[in-house]
């Protein structure tokens, strides 16, 4: 991808195995649903490329990342770690916040959020329990 090119929105509809993904260059990024694709890294490749390009471009005032993942496999966890690495790096010079949203009944989603907070001390991750 070409740095400095005009960013376009990227929207992926949810499937049985993948979440709805909405990437908006105005600074709103959202993942909603389940994530257990057959080949996680292939599936997320365009997303990671979009993010790479987004953070390489001129950024809006702030970026909000809303993640509401109700079910995910272990390679998705790994991928989220990689993605947060990228965000942590960008976040050092940019106002970026991650909202990790989970249902109170969903213990593994909450624990994953706690793991991310523990691992990324320079990234703002808010745990948000759904009411």
């Amino acid at each position: 991808m070409i740095r400095g090119a005009v960013m376009e929105k990227l929207h992926l509809e949810a499937t049985q195995y993948t979440p709805e993904i909405s990437l908006d260059p105005n600074g709103v990024i959202a993942f909603t649903g389940k994530s257990y694709p057959e080949n996680t890294f292939d599936f997320y490749q365009p997303v990671m490329e979009w993010l790479d390009q987004y953070f390489g471009n001129e950024l809006p005032e702030r970026t909000v990342v809303n993640m509401e993942i109700i079910y995910f496999n272990s390679s998705s966890s790994k991928l989220f770690f990689d993605m947060f690495d990228m965000m942590e790096e960008a976040g050092s010079e940019h106002a970026l916040e991650v909202n990790w949203i989970y249902d109170p009944e969903n213990e593994s989603a909450r624990e994953a959020g706690e793991d991310f907070i523990e691992d990324f001390d320079k990234l703002t991750i808010n745990l948000i329990e759904k009411g």
Partner: protein, 265 residues
């Protein structure tokens, strides 16, 4: 000003050390993440599998409940029909067991044999629609009354035929065809031979065998020799000859069912 070779070497080594440390940190971090991901994943798998086992057990319990309910409803419907036809006690249960045994020896697939076992007790359900004046009439029915009485086959079929469930569809067939005779002299359609559904042929024989061998308020049970003589006589007339052969070949098993499910008086 030139840098001396030692200083250059030191600078290069420091650069290498810095990159090495960075890479090492990253590898250590990744190993720790991987470990965490594995632990979380193992924990979740355990929970998920526990949950699946719990749910499967629930579904199995529900299935058993449904099957038992179905069995009870079927026997109750059978008993309702039989209560109208002056049959008593374990008649419907014996007919059910005989029917299954006939079906298995005839070569019907075991699932279908089980289904017939459950369907055959409903063969007389149409009698609920026959007026008491005819049903309970002492003595012989006149032609007109007989005509009404015989509508129970068609009526039973109509009661059950609305269903798409295999069990009730089979019961509808049994209700319609259990008074057909092998030689075509039965009713309501006068079907002949193998045009009569195997379920109808089997239930006809099972029902007659049990009715003749049981005491009723209006008659004594026939003794076995008399029943066997009738069966030999009606082989290929009233009854499917193959079923009669099966009966005599496995007579011990039929008599054992009768013994186990005999009525207590």
């Amino acid at each position: 000003m030139s840098i001396n070779p030692d200083e250059k070497l030191i600078m290069e080594l420091e650069g290498l050390r810095e990159r090495f440390n960075k890479t090492t940190d990253k590898i250590i971090r990744d190993i720790n993440r991987q470990k965490k991901i594995m632990e979380r994943s193992d924990k979740r798998q355990r929970q998920e599998y526990d949950e699946i086992q719990k749910r499967v057990a629930e579904v199995e319990a529900l299935n058993r409940e449904i099957e038992e309910t179905q069995r009870e409803v079927v026997f109750t419907m059978g008993a309702i029909g039989e209560s109208r036809s002056k049959e008593t006690g374990n008649h419907v249960k014996r007919v059910a067991e005989y029917s299954k045994l006939f079906a298995l020896y005839y070569g019907v697939d075991p699932d279908q044999a089980e289904l017939l076992k459950q369907a055959s007790p409903m063969h007389d359900i149409g009698k609920v629609a026959i007026p008491d004046s005819i049903l309970n009439k002492p003595g012989r029915l006149d032609d007109e009354e007989l005509e009404v009485m015989r509508t129970h086959a068609q009526l039973g079929h109509e009661m059950l035929a609305y269903s798409t469930r295999p069990l009730l569809k089979l019961a509808a067939t049994v209700a319609l065809e259990h008074h057909e005779k092998w030689d075509g002299s039965g009713y309501p359609r006068g079907l002949k031979g193998k045009d009569i559904h195997i379920a109808g042929r089997i239930t006809a024989l099972a029902d007659v065998f049990d009715a003749l061998g049981s005491d009723r308020c209006y008659k004594k049970a026939w003794d076995d020799e008399r029943i066997f003589a009738l069966f030999r006589e009606e082989r290929g007339r009233h009854f499917d000859p193959d079923l009669i052969d099966i009966f005599f070949e496995h007579i011990d098993e039929f008599l054992e069912i009768r013994e186990q499910l005999k009525d207590d008086y």
